[in-house]
């Protein structure tokens, strides 16, 4: 328990944003990142919803971690997650009904997000409340950041507008707001994010003791994995 005093909250939060970014690094939860990001408003609201659910689930699981029997932990995690998703779902339906009409289905789908269950299982069920909350905030902000960036570029290029307001007065590239363009945007931004990480941030990717030089060469080799 002495360890608890040494928790580095800054690292916990940045971990979720950069090193283990749900979309750009772990490539999890790609379904909403393509489905709801064809305009900035939807992308940001989805990100906020996930942030809220992630933090609340982490807190709840962390509170319950001593009473959950290990054999039934997954059903209980799922129950907690769906409880918080229902809360989010209903509050969004009440607060922003017009956006909710477009993306209501995807809000309910947060239940099935691998990232939320994974954080509950790997982190919140083993740690105290404060670190779990920090982890949830980091992960949620990472997700929000990814969705914001993706939807920013998709709306800007695909519609020539931002948050519904026209910005560019040229013929937009319609493909960017269609699902195919979503794949393009996610793929290219993922590559860009990793490139910036390797080049400037230099976070070590989970567990491997790679030097940045090695990362660089793998990035430049054609058809490298």
């Amino acid at each position: 328990m002495a360890q608890a005093n040494k928790v580095n909250y800054r690292e916990l939060i940045t971990n979720g944003i950069v090193k283990e970014n749900t979309i750009f690094k772990l490539a999890l939860s790609l379904c909403p990142s393509i489905a709801v990001t064809n305009n900035l408003k939807n992308g940001v609201l989805m990100g906020v919803a996930v942030l809220f659910v992630q933090v609340m689930v982490n807190i709840t699981i962390s509170l319950m971690r001593t009473v959950i029997h290990p054999k039934v932990r997954l059903p209980i995690f799922m129950l907690v997650i769906s409880g918080w998703v229902t809360v989010t779902d209903l509050s969004m339906a009440a607060a922003v009904p017009d956006v909710y009409k477009q993306m209501g289905l995807y809000i309910q789908l947060i239940v099935a997000f691998a990232s939320i269950l994974a954080r509950a299982e790997m982190f919140a069920s083993k740690n105290k409340i404060a670190p779990s909350m920090a982890d949830g905030i980091g992960m949620g902000i990472g997700f929000l950041f990814a969705l914001t960036v993706i939807s920013f570029f998709r709306e800007l290029i695909g519609r020539g507008s931002l948050w519904g307001m026209p910005i560019i007065n040229a013929k937009p590239l319609l493909i960017m707001i269609l699902p195919a363009g979503g794949f393009f945007a996610v793929g290219i931004l993922m590559a860009l994010f990793n490139w910036i990480d390797v080049k400037y941030l230099k976070t070590k990717t989970g567990g491997h003791e790679e030097s940045t030089h090695e990362c660089k060469t793998t990035l430049l080799t054609p058809a490298g994995d």
Binding site: L173, I188, L220, P222
Partner: protein, 339 residues
């Protein structure tokens, strides 16, 4: 030559010792040359604007390849002619009336997204020029379907817009097509010479066939894909061509219109994205022909060559695996594990 041979014999090196004269760049430039007749005919029918579009597409393709490779410190391979070929094929697949920024966007999508991001020449899953066109067709559906009436004069001032023969066939049926062109013979000759609305490089069947004959003669493409592609399409057109009646369709109209010949000879046969085993190539061609006719007759678009080839591109690796050639000297696997 003799001296070179002797020097060759004295070289001590690891295998291979016998090398073909053919190189990637030689083949690529030959394909470019084979497309020349169709390019000239396109320029003749659609005027200087068509030439500008082709030039812009080529320059944009070569430049994006150069800039991308330069910025990633990769080996610069613009001289091998593959980027030039991608640009040329993309330009030939565009309607002659598109604004000038369209070929730039298309070439960028073709070279950077389809080819270089997957690792450059030899690693791309899809045909770059076709992805470029698909990208444009989906992004600018209106602009990409405005077709100009061809004029035999090089300089023209009042370009009328019209529908392609396939568009007419789709919307109004074969009777309207006959009404426009007169009788069967005129229709066929017009389609054969290329006096019809369509993309810049796809209209002139005769010019495309000359180029294809050159490639076949030099052995750069084999007959397997084009023959199975066109054969399947002709068969489908004959059987299902007219609505309500079987075996009465007109295969010639379908073969000579749209991008069928350009696709079958120059784009489905792309080395990188088609299967490399002969039997597999036949299956690939049949798939292309089938999907093309399925889209033409039942789909929402009047033309289906592009999507057909792209869909079959995904199956290339699986086809190659299915028709894997027997390794010389290898024994058949004995299936005794079931016992």
């Amino acid at each position: 030559m003799d001296k070179a041979k002797k020097e060759h014999q004295l070289t001590v090196s690891v295998s291979p010792h016998i090398k073909s004269e053919e190189t990637t760049s030689r083949i690529m430039w030959s394909v470019n040359a084979a497309l020349l007749p169709a390019t000239v005919m396109g320029a003749y029918f659609f005027g200087p604007r068509a030439v500008f579009i082709l030039a812009i597409a080529i320059i944009a393709a070569v430049l994006s390849e150069y800039i991308f490779q330069k910025s990633l410190n990769r080996k610069i391979s613009v001289n091998d002619g593959s980027a030039f070929l991608t640009g040329l094929l993309l330009g030939m697949n565009l309607p002659p009336s598109v604004p000038f920024y369209i070929p730039i966007v298309g070439s960028f999508a073709a070279i950077v997204i389809t080819k270089q991001l997957f690792g450059g020449l030899g690693f791309n899953v899809f045909n770059p020029a076709l992805i470029g066109r698909a990208f444009l067709l989906i992004s600018f559906p209106k602009l990409m379907t405005i077709w100009k009436e061809p004029t035999a004069a090089f300089i023209q001032f009042d370009a009328k817009t019209t529908a392609t023969p396939l568009g007419i066939l789709k919307e109004e049926g074969v009777a309207k097509l006959m009404e426009m062109f007169g009788d069967n013979i005129t229709l066929y000759t017009q389609l054969f010479t290329g006096h019809r609305a369509g993309s810049i490089g796809e209209t002139s069947s005769i010019a495309l066939l000359i180029g294809a004959a050159f490639l076949l003669y030099r052995g750069y493409i084999s007959w397997h894909i084009p023959v199975s592609f066109l054969g399947t399409a002709a068969l489908m057109a004959w059987i299902f061509g007219t609505k309500g009646a079987l075996f009465t369709g007109d295969p010639i109209v379908h073969l000579l219109s749209g991008g069928m010949l350009l696709g079958a000879f120059f784009m489905a046969t792309d080395y990188v994205t088609c299967p490399s085993v002969r039997k597999g190539q036949i299956l690939f061609g049949i798939g292309c022909g089938f999907l093309t006719m399925l889209i033409r007759l039942k789909g929402g678009y009047p033309e289906g060559v592009m999507f057909a080839i792209l869909i079959m591109n995904c199956f290339s690796p699986i086809i190659d695996r299915g028709f894997r050639t027997k390794v010389f000297g290898a024994k058949k696997e004995i299936k005794e594990s079931k016992k």
